[in-house]
Amino acid sequence: MKIRKILQDTFMIAWIKSYPDFRRNPLMLLLLAMISAIPLFFMLMFSSGGNVIVHGLIGAMVSSVSFAGVMAGIQDISWDRYVKIREMIVAMPVHPASYALGIALAPLLISIPSLIFFGAITVFLGFLTLETLVWIVPALIIVWAAMSTMGFMISTYLFKSSMMVLNNLSNLLGIGFIFIPPVYFSEAQLGSLSWISIIIPTSNVAGLIRSSMGLLPLSIETVIVRWAVLIITTSAFIILTFIKAKWREK
């Protein structure tokens, strides 16, 4: 299949999966932005000043794309089980990669307004420059990819579980990957346990963004190791998903 058709289908599926929701349920955008902004509210209320708000804004950006990623896998299940659009697409001249990428891209498109909102505040506070953006954008893309493939992995391995179980699991993952690790706060607060943030994709990316903004002093070697861990983790999720996922059932 031609690359052009694969890309075209990817964007078509992402559009189909996001635009109708975006147009007919705009409150959902507000809700997504608010979920990511809730910790910020508490930080504003109880912080003692300093860069706490910037740490929180970084967390909100990472949270927006990470939620988008986990949602992708769950949406795949609902498309497959209830509206059966996946079944209809399997029988079309559409490449499986287009489908997976399109499904993953859709919630990312929906989270773009909240990303822009948090980014704009960060720019206003003077922490986001063109130079830092060069690092932030790929870092956010990779964490979205990691969380998306994790979502797909869950939907693939728990293919026969009920939607209730999967929804609860996605909420637990959200808490486990976004609110507990140092995503909204600096990993420096973990002291000797700060290494934990490297193995979790969300906190790893939050640390890399902080480092690029000068909020977290990291050596060049550490930055390289952290990028490598991030890429390896994402690749592992992708491989596991590809091993288990079936476009055509046996």
């Binding site: 078509m12 559009w15 189909i16 109708p20 059966k84 209809m88 697409i89 029988a91």
Partner: protein, 305 residues
């Protein structure tokens, strides 16, 4: 009719799990262009399994099938260029409109935007949803929702359409709307492979029918050919306490009703007269597809002869 839209050769499927289930046991059929072919069978007969293999969603355990000359086993990509599918028990995506179903699915098939708009318009008019094209699916009735999904298949340029029980749950009027659209497609040389367990549907719209039971084709042909597979041609339905008058006739009891199967019209008229003398209500008609179906799949054991 032109030959060669769909051909299955000894198609087998076994599901391996806790229990081994033989869903298909060597199914061989062929569907021509410009033909509506119906797979008729009870629940669990293997109809959906067959359709899922033909539509490249499921791999066969044995045998092979060909769509427009391409093997579903080894040339799935080529097959997908020619087919469009409506799965069983499909629900609508509530935030979609009928227009989006018809237009986006045409676009996904690689049809250009301007042509997809035309195709979507044609499809929505065919299923009588043009006036409702911009309504969200969640506000449509069950029948309208199903027609919106069918429009997504009609708007494709596919040569072979596969529909798994497309009218189940629809009322009579909505069903006829779908039938009319399908027959129109057949007139335009499309091949349609349809599954159903509704006898009336099979009888009304099929060019040919295959009766499937327990994974095997037990009968295949035009309606009259299938009806010719049983020796009885007429039936008399009698209401009330009917006592069998002759040993050689076959009677099926349905509570306080009896269905008597007879070979000739004369026999049927004689029985009708006899029952009227007994002060019972009775009417006779040619045997239906349902009568033949029940006989062939052996699903009803209430015989008295």
């Amino acid at each position: 009719m032109e030959p060669g839209a769909v051909k299955s050769v000894d198609l087998c499927k076994t599901y391996h799990g806790k229990d081994e289930i033989e869903a298909l046991r060597g199914v061989s059929i062929d569907v021509s262009k410009g033909e509506l072919f119906t797979l008729l069978g009870p629940n669990g007969a293997g109809k959906t399994t067959f359709l899922r293999i033909i539509s490249t969603q499921l791999l066969a355990s044995g045998g092979d099938a060909y769509v427009m000359g391409h093997s579903v086993t080894s040339e799935a990509e080529e097959v997908r260029e020619h087919i469009a599918v409506v799965p069983q028990d499909v629900a609508t995506y509530n935030n979609f409109t009928p227009w989006e179903y018809a237009y986006y699915f045409a676009r996904l098939r690689g049809i250009s935007s301007s042509e997809a708009k035309l195709k979507a318009q044609e499809a929505l008019r065919a299923v009588d949803l043009w006036e409702l094209r911009d309504r969200m699916c969640q506000t449509l009735s069950g029948g309208e929702k199903r027609r919106a999904i069918i429009a997504s298949v009609l708007s494709s340029n596919a040569d072979v359409l596969m529909l798994d029980e497309p009218t189940s749950g629809l009322d009579a009027v909505a069903r006829r709307g779908v039938w009319s659209a399908l027959r129109e497609l057949v007139r335009n040389e499309k091949a349609i492979l349809l599954t159903t367990h509704m006898m009336e549907e099979a009888e009304m719209i099929s060019d040919r029918i295959a009766i499937v039971n327990k994974g095997s084709v037990v009968a295949c042909g035009r309606l009259e050919e299938i009806k010719g597979l049983v020796k009885e041609r007429f039936r008399v339905v009698i209401s009330g306490d009917f006592k069998q008058t002759a040993d050689h006739i076959e009677v099926v009891k349905l509570g306080d009703r009896s269905i008597v199967y007879l070979k000739t019209q004369d026999e049927a008229v004689d029985l009708l007269k006899a029952t009227l003398k007994m002060n019972l209500r009775a009417e006779y008609s040619p045997v239906t597809l349902e009568d033949v179906f029940v006989k062939l799949v052996g699903g009803f054991d209430n015989h008295e002869n």
